[in-house]
Symmetry: C2
Subunit: 466 residues, 2 copies
Amino acid sequence: MIGRLVIVHLAMFLIPRCAISQTDIDSTLLHRYGDTVQRFLEIGLREGQSYHMLKELTTVAGHRLSGSEGAERAVELTKNLMLGLGFENVHTEQVMVPRWVRGSVEECLLMDLKNHRAVPLSVCALGGSVATPEGGIEAAVIEVKSFEELASLGEAARGNIVLFNRPFDPGKLNTFESYVGAVDQRSRGAIEAAKVGAVAALVRSMTHAADDVPHTGMMNYDEEIPRIPAAAVSTRDADSLSVLLHQRQSVTLRLTLTCQTLPDVPSSNVIGEIRGSEHPEEIIVVAGHLDAWDKGTGAHDDGAGCVQAIEAVRLIKSLGLTPKRTIRAVMFMNEENGMRGAKAYPIAPERAGETHIAAMESDRGGFAPRGISVHDDSVALQKVRRWSVLFERLNAGTIQMGYSGVDIAPLKERGVHAFGLDVETHRYFDYHHSDNDTIDKVNPRELELGAIVEALFCYLVSEEGL
Amino acid sequence: MIGRLVIVHLAMFLIPRCAISQTDIDSTLLHRYGDTVQRFLEIGLREGQSYHMLKELTTVAGHRLSGSEGAERAVELTKNLMLGLGFENVHTEQVMVPRWVRGSVEECLLMDLKNHRAVPLSVCALGGSVATPEGGIEAAVIEVKSFEELASLGEAARGNIVLFNRPFDPGKLNTFESYVGAVDQRSRGAIEAAKVGAVAALVRSMTHAADDVPHTGMMNYDEEIPRIPAAAVSTRDADSLSVLLHQRQSVTLRLTLTCQTLPDVPSSNVIGEIRGSEHPEEIIVVAGHLDAWDKGTGAHDDGAGCVQAIEAVRLIKSLGLTPKRTIRAVMFMNEENGMRGAKAYPIAPERAGETHIAAMESDRGGFAPRGISVHDDSVALQKVRRWSVLFERLNAGTIQMGYSGVDIAPLKERGVHAFGLDVETHRYFDYHHSDNDTIDKVNPRELELGAIVEALFCYLVSEEGL
C-alpha cells in the first residue's frame, strides 16, 4: 500500500502541475484575448501611425540633443501629436538639462610629413568632450586594446594621443553584449589616457560595421584627472591607423575639436495617457527618450521608441478598449547625456497619488520585435511568460530575463516592474549614434509591429495585473 | 479503492508524460551538443564566409537568369568555391534550361494627349512575356482588383490594357501570405486579361513598399489563350494610375517590350559535400538556387541561400566534425522560371544508390533566422521540435509547420523530409525580383547566422536521424 500511496500522492502533486499546465492557461488567454491580439495586429499593420510620426519627428525636429532647438521642437511636436490623438492629461514636466554643443570644427589629420601632406580621418567629438586648444593638438599616436595595456605602457604614453582600438567581438549573438564589451573605451578612455599623461583620446567607433562613419556617444571625466579631448574614429580609419603603426616607427596626428559645454537649460519630459476605467491611479508607463545624438536624426535611437509609445496608446484607444488601469506614454528627455528626465519623473510633484505598477521601454531600435525582456525577479518572469501564447501570435513570444531601459531604471529602483521591448539586434550598432541613424534604415512594418507588441503588453498588464 | 486505482492509473499515465518531458530531453541534448552549438555560433560569426562569398557571387556572376552568361559564371564560381574549400564529390549535373531574354526596350508611356506629352512609368517585362508588336501597343487602361471583377466587365475590357492593382494586404504578419494573396495577378494576369480580349496586362509590383521600382517575376500563358505582353509597374505608378482613372474618363498608355524566348540551352546544378563517416549513402541536402532574376543581383533571392548552403558545409568541416551521414550543398539551377534543376536532380543517374533522408532550403532572403519550418507531417515536427533548446541558443527556436522550398519540392514528393530556413520576412518583398535586391541590403551577421542554423540542423539530422 505504501507504494501505491506514494504514487497517489505523487499523482496529487503532478496532476495540478501538468494538467493545469500552460495548455489550459493558453486556451483561457486565447479565449479572452485572441480576438484582441488579432485586431491589434491587423489594425496596427494596416493603419499604424508609428512610421508616419517618425517621419515627422526626424524631419521637423531633426537631431535633438538635449538643450538644442531640435529637442524643443521634438517636445512641441510630440505634445501636439498626443493632443491631436485625443490623449488625456497631455502635459510637459520641466527638467534642467546639460547642454553640450558640437563645434564647427572636428578634424583629425594624419600628418604625412615625408610627403608633405595631411590626410583627414573620419572622426567626431565624443559627447561631453572638451575642445582642443586653438590650433589643435599635434602628437604621436599609440594604439592600445585595453586599459591594462595602457597602464603597462607607463611613461611611454605621456604626451601622446591614445587610440583605443579594441573592436566589437563579432562572436556574440546579441550585439548589445559586443557593445558592453567595448564601450568602456568610449566612456572611460579619456580618463584612463589622461592618467598616464596622454593629451587626447581617439576611440574606435562602437560598431560591427566596417565603414567610414564615426559613432559618437557619451564620455566621462573624473574630477581628479585632467580633462583631455576625446573623439571617435571610424572603424576603417582605426584599422588603417593600426596597420600604419605596425609599418612605421611613428605616426603623428593633429586633432582639432571646438565643442563646448554651456550652462544647463530647461527642457521637458512629455506625457499623455489613456485613463484607467477602474484604477486610474495605477499607472503603466510605456516609454522612449526624446533626445538623440546630434548625428543622423535619431530614427532608431530613440525616435522609434517614442513613436511606438504614442502608437501603443493610440492603438488601444482606436480599438475602443477601455483599460482598467492608466496607460501612459512618456517621452523622457536627456537619456543620452545625463538622464535628467528619467531622474526627475519619479519625484515630480505630478506623481503624488499615483502608483506605478509597470514600465516598459523601447530603446533598442525599431527592428522586428522578438519578445519582452523582464528586468525583474523570476516571479515576474513567470507571470509574463504565461502570456507567451499571445505574443507568439505577433512573432514576439520570447519572454526572458534581460535589461529594460535606461529611462525607467529610476522607476525600477523604486520597485516598479520594468520591461524592455526585445528586438533583433544585428543592425542596431551599424546606425547607433552616427550619421547612419536615419529613417531610411527603419522598416515600417518592423517599427509598427514593435508598437503592437507594446500595446498588447500594456493592455494585458492593465487587465491582468502583475 | 476504485477512486484510488483511477488515480494510480492516471499517475502511471501522467508520470512518463511529465517526468520524461522536454526538460530531460533538453539536458541530454545540451550535454551532447551544447558546446558544438556554441562553437558553430562563435566561429560562424567570427570567421563566417557567407558574406564574402555573396559579394563574389553578386559581383563576378552578377544577375544570372537561367541560360545567361551570368548564370554560367555562377556555376563556375560556386563549383570552384567548393573545390577550394576542400568539399568532396564536387561536380555539376547538366540540365537544359529555358532562356528568356529581357529586351533593350521596356517602356510604358502615359499618353497625355491634352498636354502633348508622354510620361514614362516605371515598368519592366514579366519573365516569360512575349514582346509587343513593333512600335508598341497603345490602348486605354482599365483597372481591376481581381479576376472576378475583370470577368464581370465582359466586353468592356476588349482592346484595353488591364491594370491588375490589388495591393499586398499589410495586415498579415508573414509577408509571404501577402505575396500569396496577390501573386495570382502576376502569374495568371495575362491569361485572364487575354480571355476577355485585352491587349496587354500591367501588374502592380509584388511588394509592400511604396516606391518607384518595378518587380519582375514569372508569368504564365495558357496554350488555349492568345499570348499578350505583360509587365510589372511600380506601386507608386500603379497608385498614380488609379487616381488618374478616377479623375478622367480615359487614360491611354503605350507599352513597348522587346523581350523574347530563345531555344533552351544547357546549364547545371552544382554539388559538393562532406561524406558521411558511417552512412555515406544517406544524404542530407542543404540547398539554394543559383539562378536569379535579371534585376538587381539576386543577393537575397537566392544568392543568400546558395552561399549559406556552402557555408553550412564549410562550418561543419572547419569545426573538425565528422558527420555520420553525407551533408550535401546543392545549388539548383532555374528555380525562377522552370524548376528544371529541381526536377532533374532526383532522377539524375548520380542518384543511384543514394538515399535522401532530409532536404533543407534557404530561399526567403538572408535575414535574421527565426527557426525552421517543417514541411512534413506532425511526427517530423515533433521530432525536430525536440531540438528547440539548441536552436534557441541561436535565436532560432521557432520550429513550426510551414513551407520548405521550391527546389526541394520534387524531393519531398518522393518522401524526403523537407525543411525551410525560417527568417524575418518584413523586408523581403521590398527587394524581391527588383533592382533593390543587391548586397547592400544584406546584413552580414543575419546572413551568417542563417548559415549557422543550417549547419546545426544538418549536423543534428546527421547524428540523430529523423
